[in-house]
C-alpha cells in the first residue's frame, strides 16, 4: 500500500436540485459532455489502479462522501487490499449510458490475485455497474451495483456464475440489475 496526498472533498449531496429542461437542452451533448466521458473513463482507470496499488487514500478520494453504503464499500475494499496480493483487475465488455451530469457504466470483470498465506493463484469474475456524478468540475463515484470487484472474493473461476449470489437477501436490489 502506498499513500497519496489527501484531497479535501466537500461534495454536495447526491440529490441535486432539478435542473430546468431548457438548461439541459442548451448543454446537451456539448463539448463539456463529451469531456465528461473522457473524465469518467479516466476515473474508472484510476479506481482500478489505486486498488491494484493498494493506495486506499487516493481510492477513497474518488468516492462521493454521500454515497449510500459508503462505509461498507470502503471497508470491503480495505479488507481486500490487505488479503489479496498482486491483484490484477481486468475490465471488458463495457457498455454505458449517460446524461450531462451522470454516467452509468456496466462491465464484466475478472480479478486475479495471490491469496495469503501461501500466495496461491486465485481468480474471480462478475458483472458490475458503476454510477458516477459530476460535482462541479470533477466526477465522483456515487454507487455500485452487481458484483463488487473491490471486495474480497473466493476463487470462483473466470466465468463464474453463482446462483446463490442471485438470491442473497442483501442483493435483492441487484438481482436482475446487470
Amino acid at each position: 500500500m502506498i499513500a497519496s496526498a489527501p484531497l479535501l472533498v466537500t461534495a454536495a449531496p447526491l440529490a441535486k436540485p432539478a435542473e430546468p429542461v431548457s438548461a439541459k437542452a442548451e448543454r446537451a451533448a456539448t463539448e463539456a459532455e463529451r469531456q465528461s466521458q473522457r473524465d469518467v473513463a479516466a476515473l474508472v482507470k484510476q479506481l482500478v489502479q489505486h486498488f491494484e496499488q493498494g493506495d486506499m487514500t487516493a481510492f477513497e478520494n474518488l468516492i462521493h462522501p454521500a454515497m449510500v453504503g459508503h462505509v461498507a464499500f470502503m471497508r470491503a475494499a480495505r479488507e481486500a487490499v490487505a488479503a489479496e496480493k498482486q491483484p490484477r483487475l481486468q475490465l471488458k465488455d463495457i457498455t454505458f449510458s449517460q446524461t450531462e451530469d451522470a454516467e452509468h457504466i456496466r462491465f464484466r470483470w475478472e480479478k486475479r490475485w495471490l491469496a495469503l498465506p501461501a500466495l496461491a493463484p486465485q481468480v474471480a469474475s462478475g458483472d458490475a455497474t458503476f454510477h458516477f456524478r459530476r460535482e462541479d468540475k470533477s466526477w465522483l463515484m456515487t454507487g455500485q451495483a452487481g458484483d463488487n470487484p473491490f471486495a474480497r472474493h473466493k476463487n470462483s473461476g473466470p466465468n463464474s456464475t453463482d446462483p446463490f449470489d442471485e438470491v442473497r437477501p442483501s442483493r435483492l436490489n441487484h438481482r436482475t440489475f446487470p
Binding site: 502506498i2 489527501p6 439541459k24 462505509v71 470502503m74 449510458s97 435483492l172
Partner: protein, 592 residues
Amino acid sequence: MHVAKLARRPLLRPIAGFVLFVLAIGSAAASQDQANEHVLSLWAQTSQDGTATLVRQADGSTRLEWRLNLSQDVYRNVITAPQDSGQTITPFGTGDFNKTQFSTEVRLVSTGGDQAYLQWAGAASNDRAVLSRYREQLSNLQMGAVGPRYAVNAGDVAANFSQLGSTLGLRGLHVSRQFDGWALASHVGVIGESWEALANRAALDGRPARSRFLRDVYGAKLDRAWSGSLKTFLSFQGYEDRESSLPQAPFAPSTTRAGTMGFNYQQGQFLLTGEAARSRFQEKNLSERVDRAFVLDGTWRSGAWAFRGGWHDVGPLFVSLAQAVPPGVREHYLGADWTAAPWLMLGMDARDAVARTAALEFPSLDPELPPPPPLPATRNRARTLNSRANLNLGMASPSWMGWNMGVNAAQTRSEDASNQESSNDNFNAMLSYASAKWQFSSNMGIGKLSSAAAPTADSRSRNEQINLGRTWSETTATGLPVWSLGLQLNLGRNNQRLLSQGTSTTTSTLGVTMSGQRTGWGQASLALSESITTQPNGGADLKSRMAQLEMTRPLGTMNTLRAYYRYMQRNSGTATLETTERVGGIQINLIW
C-alpha cells in the same frame, strides 16, 4: 535489502540505448495493464474531439455534419503460463489479434435551438480478453431531440430521478418536459445485460446470452419549483421481470413498485436534500414485501469551514429502481474541512453504519422438491473515522515554495452478526515537491488489521515509496512547447507480517520511466520495472520484470499512428506461477 539487490541489476543499459532512439521525452507514464487501456479507450473514444459540429450559415439555418472515429489495432500476444493453469494466472492467450473500435455522431441544430442527434459506438475483436462473449459488441446507441423546454432520448438512456427513485441506465425512451415552475420526466424501457442479451444473440462461449431476466422498467417524476431556493418532487417507478426471457432460471422473477417524495433546499452556501420512499416488492409464489427508505444529506460552507452530514436508512426489503442503493443500510455521517490557515487544511469524516438483511424464505423452483432453507436475518455494524491534514508549505514561506505535506489516518471498527469484532487501522504520511523541472514525492504508511472472526488474516503492514522526476523542455518565444523530455524513478517497499503464522511477505520494486514529445514529431515513452516478492511460507522469491515501449506519431492534424510493445515476466522462480506476456502491436486512429 531487496531494493539493494535490484539496484545492482543492469537496468540502466537499455535506457541508454533508448535515449538515442526516443524522439523526445515528456510526461507519459507506462500503464499498469494495457488490457484495461484497450477497453476503456473504446468507451472514451466516443468522446474524442472529432465529434460532429454544426456550422451556422449566414442565413441563420444550420448545416449537418457528422464525424466518425475509427481505431484499428493489430497485435500479437505471446504468452507462456504454467501448464494446466488455464486462465487462472493470465487472461491472455497466444495469437494474432485485431480490434476495431468506432464511434459516430450525427447532430442537427435548428435555428430555434432544437437539436437532433444520433450517436453510436461499437467494437469488434477476435481477442476474448477484450470482448469476452461476442466478436462484435454494440457499446452505446443513443438518439434523440432536445429543445429549450423538452428532451426526448431513446436507446441507451440514463434516468437520474433521485437517490431513492429511478437511478439507472436502461434501453428505452426517456422524455422530459418543462412547464412554468413544473417539470415532468418519464422513462420506459428494458434492462438487459447488453444489446446482445436483449436480442438473445448466441454467445461464442456457448453459454446463454442472458444470465438474468429481462426487466421491463417504467417511471415518472414531477418536479415543482416553489421558489428559487425550494424545490420538491414526487416520483413513481417500477419493474416487472419477463419470466419467459430466462428459462430454467435459478431464481424467481419479481415485480416492484416504488414511490418517493423529496425536496431540495438551497440558500447561499447551505444545501439540504431529503427523500422518503416506500416500495412493494414481490417474488413469484411469495407474499408481497413492503419496506421504506429515507435519506437526508446536507452541506454548508461558512468562511474557512465546510461541513457535511447525512443520514440514510434503507429497509432491508426496500427495492426500487435506485440501482446502486444497497438494501438494509442504516448509516449516518458527519464531516468537516477547515482551512485553518492559507497553508493548513484539516479535515475529518466520521461514519457509523449498520447493514441489515431480513429473514427470507425462497420459493421452490421445482414443485416436487422442497424449497431452499430460509435465510436468517443478520446485522453487522461498522464505524469509521478518517482524519487528515494537508500543509502547503509554500504558502507558509516562499523558501518552501512547491513543498506539500499530508497525513491521513483511517480507522474502522466493525462487528459482524455474531458480535465478533474486527478492526482496520491505516496511517499514511506524504511529502512532495514540484517545480517546473523537478518532482519528488515520498509516502510512508502503516496498517493493522485484526479480525476475531478470521484471525488468520490478522496482519501488520508497512509501506514506503519514493518517486523522483526531472523534466527538460524548450518553448518558443511565444510560449508554445517545442519539445519536452522527462525521467522518473520510483522505489517502493511493502512488508506485511501475518500474525497468526508468524511469517511475512515483502515486495520491493524499482522502476524507471522515460517519456517525451516533440511538436510535430509525436511522443514516446519507455517504462522499465522490476520487483521481488518474498513468500511467507518460504520458497524462492517471486521476481517480476516489465518493459513497455510506446510511440505515437501524428498523421496530419487529427489522426495518429501508435506502436507499442510490452514485455512482462511475472513471478519467475516458481514453476506454478511464472508467466511471461509479450504484446506488440500497431494502432491507427482515424477521424473523419
